[in-house]
């Protein structure tokens, strides 16, 4: 049975906000701060309303409904997946014991840190994308951008709920700080470096939603396994919304690739920039950049923190319960890629220490599926060229490859070799300037910019021509 969301509240929720004074006080104080933040740091484009999906229940069917909503009136709220009364801890020292409904004092600091880091990324992406509305290629894309934005906003709510409901005074302070730090701010930047870069154009936005949001999906997946049940249930519901963000990225890149093939065919050249398109080698450079930056978000391949989190039951592995091992890993070993004697090779380490590597491996396999789709577009267009994911050691600034220079195909390079070829692998200022030059807004119903193909279908059964956004 689906738990319904109580819309009679100022803050829609399924956590019995009405019966929890502490939460009420905290969230009611935080809500105006959030709305201020949205007004200052949210989308810059003025709209009167947007055709948005809003969560209305957390059950399997019919969890959302669609309607035109004025952005500031979006019903941000607090929704957790349904509670499984029988749920047991699936891994680590506490395996088999009932999951925790309260934060154990022993793990307060670690859980709070995990939630703060996750929470910090949610508003960061809204901040990074705030100006994209000014250059949307279509109303359909504009709508998708705002959908992603409001849902990232709601994910912030989800993390804030956990901080305020379970972490007392410190939790409230941390919730406030989530709105004080800002992407790219000199004085008080977001915690993770990748979230302090502005998303400058729509190609970057699609890449971001494909690669970086997918990192988020995998991080949420590990937290979904957490022994701290409210965190687990929160993340489970967030994953449902996150799927749409992946969809925006996947189909976005699909459509850019598709349009590029059309322009290549039409003009019989790979050099489609002069014809208002994005050349395949530039798309590849964007893939190289966003993939490698996202890999850095997984942290170092070997990590004692991750091992401690696992043993304590705070953070599991992707699809932990489907794994066929003892879920303790105390004696297991894993192979990881690493630099050995100046060569890319593998080394064996205790599996507990290789959990970041394990998660990253799952992620890379998932990323590969998108590449397959895009190559299908190329194949269908009768082109030889193919897109690919660069080697995991390419352009890394975190982890075992961070002090080496490695080409997209996995060759180890000297600094000079790297410098000579970097511009053929990563977007150059000229590439970015060109992509930027294509970013002219198209706000007319049913129209779309020249550098991207229209989608195969619209949102919620509506046609592409549907008026997804009413501008102010």
């Amino acid at each position: 049975m689906s738990q319904s969301i109580d819309y009679s509240e100022r803050i829609p929720n399924n956590v019995d906000l009405a019966g929890d004074r502490r939460l009420q006080r905290a969230l009611e104080a935080w809500q105006p701060a959030f709305l201020n933040w949205w007004a200052e740091m949210g989308p810059t484009l003025d709209t009167s309303d947007v055709y948005l999906r809003t969560a209305v229940a957390v059950g399997r069917e019919g969890w959302a409904h669609f309607d035109h909503v004025a952005l500031p009136e979006y019903r941000w709220g607090v929704f957790l997946s349904e509670r499984d009364e029988e749920r047991k801890i699936a891994f680590g020292d506490g395996k088999g014991q009932p999951v925790w409904q309260q934060v154990p004092g022993e793990y307060r600091a670690e859980l709070q840190r995990l939630i703060v880091i996750q929470g910090d990324t949610e508003p960061a992406s809204v901040e990074q994308q705030r100006r994209l509305g000014l250059t949307a290629p279509s109303l359909y894309d504009l709508r998708n951008l705002f959908q992603v934005n409001v849902e990232e906003g709601r994910h912030l709510w989800a993390m804030v709920y956990l901080l305020q409901a379970y972490f007392g005074r410190e939790g409230r302070d941390e919730a406030d700080a989530l709105l004080i730090r800002n992407s790219g701010s000199e004085d008080s930047p977001r915690i993770l470096g990748a979230f302090n870069e502005e998303t400058p154009d729509w190609l970057s936005f699609f890449m971001f939603t494909y690669f970086t949001d997918r990192d988020g999906k995998y991080q949420l997946g590990t937290l979904k396994e957490s022994a701290f049940d409210p965190l687990s249930r929160t993340c489970e519901f967030m994953l449902k919304e996150e799927a749409h963000h992946m969809f925006v990225g996947t189909t976005g890149i699909d459509r850019v690739v598709k349009r590029s093939t059309e322009l290549m065919r039409e003009h019989q050249t790979e050099e489609i920039a002069p014809h208002g398109g994005i050349a395949l080698n530039v798309i590849q450079k964007y893939i190289n950049f966003h993939f490698s930056v996202s890999l850095d978000l997984f942290g170092s391949e070997t990590s004692t923190n991750a091992a401690n989190y696992f043993t304590a039951g705070l953070k599991g592995r992707w699809q932990e319960t489907r794994r066929k091992d003892d879920h303790l890993l105390s004696d297991d070993h894993s192979e990881i890629e690493a630099m050995v004697d100046g060569q890319v090779s593998s080394q064996e380490v205790p599996s507990l220490l290789a959990l970041n590597h394990d998660l990253r491996t799952e992620y890379v396999a998932d990323c590969q599926s998108g590449v397959k789709r895009w190559n299908k577009v190329l194949e269908d267009a009768g082109l030889e060229a193919r897109l690919f994911l660069p080697h995991v050691g390419f352009n890394r600034h975190v982890g075992l490859f961070s002090s080496s220079k490695i080409s997209p195909s996995g060759e180890v390079l000297t600094d000079d070799q790297w410098a000579a070829r970097e511009s053929s692998w990563l977007p150059t200022p000229e590439d970015k300037t060109h992509v930027q030059s294509l970013m002219q807004p198209v706000y007319e119903r049913g129209k779309i910019a020249n550098w991207i193909a229209p989608p195969n279908q619209g949102i919620n059964g509506q046609p592409f021509e549907y008026e997804y956004v009413h501008l102010a």
Binding site: R21, R22, R25, Q102, V103, P104, G105, E106, Y107, R108, A109, Y166, F167, G168, R169
Partner: protein, 581 residues
């Protein structure tokens, strides 16, 4: 603290004991006794002079597995000594000097029993030493603050803990018979330290030169006669024929010089009769709830019921039922009980319940009479010693200040002794505390500025604000004011001031987090934070001597199968790891 001088010869006649220490099941220890039940001490009073005679019952060990030969002692012997020294102060207002002597011909006291130590767990050793230290500090406190001067009349061998017992006396007389000696053989024979104040008091209290102290503490046979006097290890020697006179003269002289205050008749210390179950301990004014799942004990101290009398006549009439004394004795007994018997309950939450006005009457009684009446003076110093016990307790202490509590003046010391102070702002909207009409308040009084000093010589406020003397001046202006949480917080008296919404959860998380940390590291951290500023003999004994001793106790050179403590009496030599650490 232990001695072996005489035991060394004794062990040749008894079977060699096992290489592996036998650890017997430790009984629940009670610290409540009375002179009629003593097995090891005799207490006699003649005019203004009392005599405490140590005559240990060899078969009377508190744990099975060893015989208390040669007046060696264990915890049970020391529990009686503690009882005797306390009763002397309350039940014998006429006593002005106390002679400590031996009932055995050839041995004054051979110190802590070595077999007992070798067979004991580490926590048992540590707790035992802490308690014996506190009792010896109490003897010095009686000399200094009660006008009961302790005199050691040493006949026979006085070794290790035996000599440390003598060191706790104000004066040491040694019989000059060419065989009686004083010694500290722990280092040379057992590979441990004279840890009950021995090393500290030799140099710090008696002023023995450090090179001579070095010779003395490594010379197992000890020092006799005139050399002992010359080195200041004892104050005087007397031959056997003059011995009784010399002791009497010293006692009479001390009694004459006594500062013992006048007052009324003796106050009998009626037996405490707590109800003890697995989950709670109840006295009349103090209760403890034992939560074995979360490893937390909640100690609630109840303020006086009804008015506290302030005239001496009524106070004497109440005697041991006078709330400040009754409460202090109960708290003292509870602390000892928990410390010894509940090792795993690592966090003590302190609460109080009652009317602050009643507690403030206690304050006024002290202010008015503790300088003139022996009984009130004793109550003040007894409570002071209870608080000092808390200071050296290896548990996390958390004060939880709620509506209906009475952390005022002397009772505020419980909060100040704690490692953290949590106070509720306003009232609870629901739950058990919501019935109270008024928000929680605390009261700072004059007594918080010095009536109950810590072992570092500072008040607990002085210790708290060691780095910010201005705060003390600000607080002086608030003396007597009823401070609600917001004010108390502003004055620096609280760690956290919390409203009702956060209250339960913050305290749960804090105590759970505490219970998850390493108990050893917590003990070390707390002991470091609690004692700021100057050192005293007492603080050195707990902070330096004890810490080193406890380290040595777990080192293989002492406690390993080949270590000196375990090898002692086996005929085998200890094998040492020669590395200096």
């Amino acid at each position: 603290m232990n001695s072996a001088g005489e035991q060394a010869t004794e062990t040749e006649t008894v079977p060699v004991f096992d290489d592996v220490p036998v650890t017997h099941e430790v009984p629940t220890v009670s610290f409540r006794t009375r002179p009629e039940d003593y097995q090891h001490w005799r207490l006699s009073v003649d005019g203004d002079i009392a005599t405490l005679t140590l005559d240990v019952n060899e078969q009377g060990g508190i744990v099975p597995g060893y015989e208390l030969k040669l007046n060696s002692y264990d915890l049970g012997v020391d529990i009686e000594l503690y009882d005797a020294t306390t009763r002397l102060r309350f039940e014998h207002p006429e006593v002005k000097a106390v002679v400590v002597t031996s009932g055995k011909e050839k041995s004054f006291c051979a110190g802590a029993n070595i077999r007992m130590l070798a067979a004991s767990t580490h926590p048992w050793k540590v707790n035992f030493c802490k308690f014996t230290n506190e009792t010896r500090n109490g003897m010095e406190d009686a000399t200094e603050n009660s006008g009961q001067t302790y005199i050691a009349a040493v006949t026979g061998a006085c070794a290790g803990g035996g000599y440390e017992l003598a060191l706790a006396c104000d004066e040491i007389l040694l019989i000059d018979d060419n065989s009686s000696s004083v010694s500290l053989p722990e280092l040379s024979l057992l590979g441990v330290l004279p840890g009950t104040g021995g090393l500290t008091r030799v140099v710090d209290k008696r002023g023995v030169r450090k090179d001579l102290a070095d010779v003395f503490a490594t010379k197992s046979e000890g020092i006799r006669g005139k050399t002992a006097v010359a080195w200041r290890l004892v104050d005087a020697v007397a031959p056997k024929k003059d011995w009784a006179d010399a002791v009497a003269a010293a006692a009479t002289k001390a009694a004459k010089a006594s500062s013992r205050l006048d007052g009324r008749a003796a106050v009998a210390l009626a037996p405490l009769e707590p109800t003890i179950t697995d989950s709670e301990i109840r006295y009349r004014h103090v209760t403890a709830d034992l939560d074995r799942a979360s490893l937390v004990v909640t100690i609630t101290v109840f303020g006086p019921q009804g008015a506290v009398p302030e005239n001496l006549e009524r106070i004497y009439e109440l005697g041991a039922d006078f709330w400040p004394l009754a409460m202090s004795r109960e708290l003292d007994d509870l602390i000892l009980h928990l410390r010894t018997n509940e090792l795993e309950l690592g966090t003590w939450v302190f609460k109080t319940r009652g009317d602050p006005s009643g507690v403030l009457a206690f304050e006024r009684v002290i202010a008015e009479h503790s300088n003139s009446d022996w009984f009130v003076n004793e109550i003040r110093h007894f409570y002071k010693r209870v608080l000092k016990r808390l200071d050296v307790t290896s548990r996390s202490l958390i004060a939880v200040i709620e509506p209906g509590s009475c952390f005022a003046g002397p009772m505020l010391e419980l909060a100040l002794a704690s490692d953290r102070q949590y106070m509720l702002e306003g009232l609870m909207e629901d739950g058990v505390l919501s019935e109270e009409g008024e928000a929680a308040q605390i009261v700072v009084t004059e007594s918080n500025f010095g009536a109950f000093p810590m072992s570092n010589g500072l008040s607990r406020l002085g210790s708290r604000f060691y780095g910010e003397p201005d705060s003390m001046d600000r607080l002086r202006k608030e003396i007597g004011a009823r401070l609600v949480a917001e004010q108390a917080d502003e004055l620096g008296l609280l760690t956290f001031s919390l409203d009702d919404i956060d209250w339960d959860e913050e305290i749960r998380i804090a105590t759970e987090e505490r219970s998850s940390f390493s108990p050893d590291a917590l003990t070390g951290m707390e002991a470091n934070h609690r004692f700021v500023g100057p050192e005293t003999i007492e603080s050195k004994i707990f902070g330096r001597l004890t810490a080193w001793q406890n380290w040595i106790f777990i080192r293989p050179n002492a406690a390993g199968p080949d270590g000196a403590l375990r090898r002692y009496g086996t005929g085998q030599r200890a094998t040492f790891d020669r590395k200096r650490v």
